[in-house]
């Protein structure tokens, strides 16, 4: 167990360094400099700017410079917002995005596990069909459609919830969290239904029944531990998806989080910001994948014994 843990962490480090290097050189290949976008600046100003941002050094020098900064947690200055560093901007956006993702995951787990387990227990009844049909909708209606539709219904027609913002009006966190959480609730519902069905047919459940345990006890103590392993291993990749979803949700609801910063940076060609957030996102995703793999490994007694 510990050996696997250490091995995986040691493996993640070169991967992240490779990601950082590839992204760095990809961005160097981009046509045009960051300062020739909207208005022309005089050659002297351009020269000063390039000097200030160390852009006239050779690519290798810049690379070594950047990587040594990176190792100290310094992602360089933002090209678009003079005087602000990328690290600082990530610092302001991250708590917002984390909060949004946290609510979304909570909603997804609650709705998904509840309906998935229920559907498995009441297999082939309307308690199975209806939640699974809703889950199919959740999978087929993309976030970028779900969000606007919820705004249209609850924000514009019914006028009961704010249409945008984050933490400014009461209840303005509800629609974004729901939008982001719903698609995952759907996946989790399907995964937990499938996982539960598989477990419920196994011998140890029959043993538990034969022992005379109550059905509630069987489901909660015995079946769910095994049946929800697929959900746990889904959570890691789901974080990556949540991140992409946060791009959309934060754009729709005008939430000042990391996702919106990233999309804006992409539009503004704020190269240092793109570079910094890409590396940061990669690190986060590698970390969460690692966590969910290890959690699934730990939950599965069979793999616990082997290691």
């Amino acid at each position: 167990m510990l050996a696997i843990f250490i091995k995986r962490i040691l493996f993640a480090i070169p991967v992240l360094l490779a990601v950082a290097s590839i992204t760095f050189f990809l961005i160097k290949m981009a046509p045009g400099g960051p300062f020739d976008a909207d208005r022309a600046v005089s050659p002297q100003v351009l020269k000063n700017l390039n000097e200030a941002y160390n852009l006239d050094a050779s690519n290798w020098e810049q690379y070594i410079d950047y990587m040594s900064g990176l190792l100290q947690g310094d992602l360089g200055p933002s090209f678009r917002f003079p005087g602000r560093s990328v690290t600082e901007m990530i610092g302001t956006g991250l708590p917002v995005t984390f909060e949004l993702a946290f609510y979304a995951i909570l909603i997804a787990l609650f709705m998904g596990v509840l309906s998935g387990v229920l559907a498995a227990l009441k297999r082939n009844t309307y308690l199975d069909f209806i939640p699974m049909a809703i889950a199919m909708i959740g999978i087929c209606v993309p976030t970028f459609l779900m969000g606007p539709l919820l705004v249209l219904i609850f924000g514009i027609n019914l006028e009961i919830l704010p249409v945008s913002g984050w933490g400014q009006l009461p209840g303005d966190k509800i629609l974004p969290s729901l939008t982001l959480g719903f698609a995952y609730a759907a996946y989790i519902a399907r995964l937990s239904r499938g996982g539960m069905l598989e477990v419920l047919n196994q011998d140890f459940i029959r043993t538990a029944r034969a022992k005379g345990l109550t059905e509630r006890m069987i489901v909660i103590k015995h079946a769910m531990q095994g049946g929800l392993i697929p959900v746990v291993s889904f959570l890691g990749p789901a974080i990556a998806g949540l991140l992409a979803g946060s791009f959309v949700v934060e754009t729709i609801f005008q939430i000042p989080g990391l996702g919106r910063f990233y999309v804006e940076a992409a539009f503004n060609r704020d190269y240092t910001m793109i570079l910094g957030t890409t590396i940061f996102f990669s690190a986060m995703i590698v970390f969460f994948n690692l966590m969910s793999d290890l959690a699934a490994l730990w939950l599965n007694p069979r793999s616990r014994d082997v290691s």
């Binding site: 961005i27 909708i137 087929c140 459609l145 729709i252 992409a266």
Partner: protein
């Protein structure tokens, strides 16, 4: 049934599956109308009736018009061309990369296999959506790059599936016999291995198309995908969102079309999987 091959069996089961047949019907209709869009669309996608502006659905414009007075039905039909094209071409790219990768890794095994699959594992763990955005930003938003970028992301699962299948096949007698007869690697892949794994490939390809279309919609929605004057369903939804407060039909109709298509593809893909592998449908 007198012909009991895998495929005729599967087709029989597939035709019995109502949801899958319904999905197939919708898809065929969609593909036909997308191909025939220039002939069946009531207006050109760029024809503007500026006097009209945004108008709700009416007899002349069945689904209404957008702010520039362009017929929404026509734009949805033309959008289907782009959205479906992205769906099929990008899936094709993913298919080519994933199948070749999986066959090579599975067939040669050993160190080749472990290195190749390790690469897949690593790529799995990276935020690919960000790399697509990065590529679109750096190299400009062009359609071919979009195909390539999306295809380059979606091949990983295909590689894993194919590898698993090939490992199961390679120790069977017919493969050994072929090897003993000195069949070259290339024709081994093409003539002996590929035909035997077409089923799982077809299933996974069908299920990849909706994912690819979602990805394209996502990028277009953010303004990083298809660029005007071309329009896909993603860009139509994006435009619809911008004016949904006054002109809600501009969001609702493209949204319904997109969702129904994804439904149809998922139903058909699920049906195909159940038909080719009846074991899984027992759950």
């Amino acid at each position: 049934m007198n012909n009991n091959s895998l495929w005729s069996d599967a087709i029989y089961r597939l035709t019995r599956n109502k949801a899958a047949m319904f999905g197939a019907f919708i898809l065929i209709m969609l593909i036909i109308s997308a191909v025939l869009a220039p002939w069946i669309a009531p207006y050109s996608y760029s024809y503007q009736d500026l006097n009209l502006g945004a108008s709700p659905p009416s007899a002349e414009h069945l689904l209404g018009t957008d702010i520039l007075g362009r017929d929404l039905l026509s734009r949805i039909l033309y959008g289907a061309r782009i959205s479906l094209l992205v769906g099929f071409v990008a899936t094709g790219v993913a298919l080519i990369i994933g199948v070749s990768w999986g066959i090579i890794a599975g067939y040669f095994g050993g160190r080749v296999d472990s290195v190749m699959m390790r690469i897949v594992d690593v790529l799995y763990g990276l935020p690919f959506i960000i790399f697509i955005i990065l590529l679109m930003v750096i190299f400009g938003r062009n359609l071919w790059l979009l195909f390539g970028a999306i295809g380059a992301v979606e091949w990983l699962t295909m590689a894993r599936i194919v590898r698993g299948q090939v490992i199961g096949l390679k120790n069977q007698e017919f493969v050994m016999a072929a090897r003993a007869m000195g069949v070259s690697n290339l024709s081994m892949f093409r003539r002996h291995l590929l035909p035997n794994i077409l089923g799982p490939i077809a299933v996974y390809a069908t299920l990849t198309i909706p994912q690819v279309m979602l990805l394209e919609g996502f990028l277009s929605f953010l303004g990083l995908g298809i660029q005007p004057p071309m329009s896909s369903w993603g860009t139509l939804i994006k435009d619809g969102v911008e004016s949904m407060e006054e002109y809600s039909w501009l969001l609702i109709y493209p949204g319904i079309t997109f969702t129904i298509t994804l439904f149809a593809l998922n139903f058909f893909g699920d049906g195909l999987r159940d038909a080719l592998d009846p074991k899984t449908s027992e759950n």
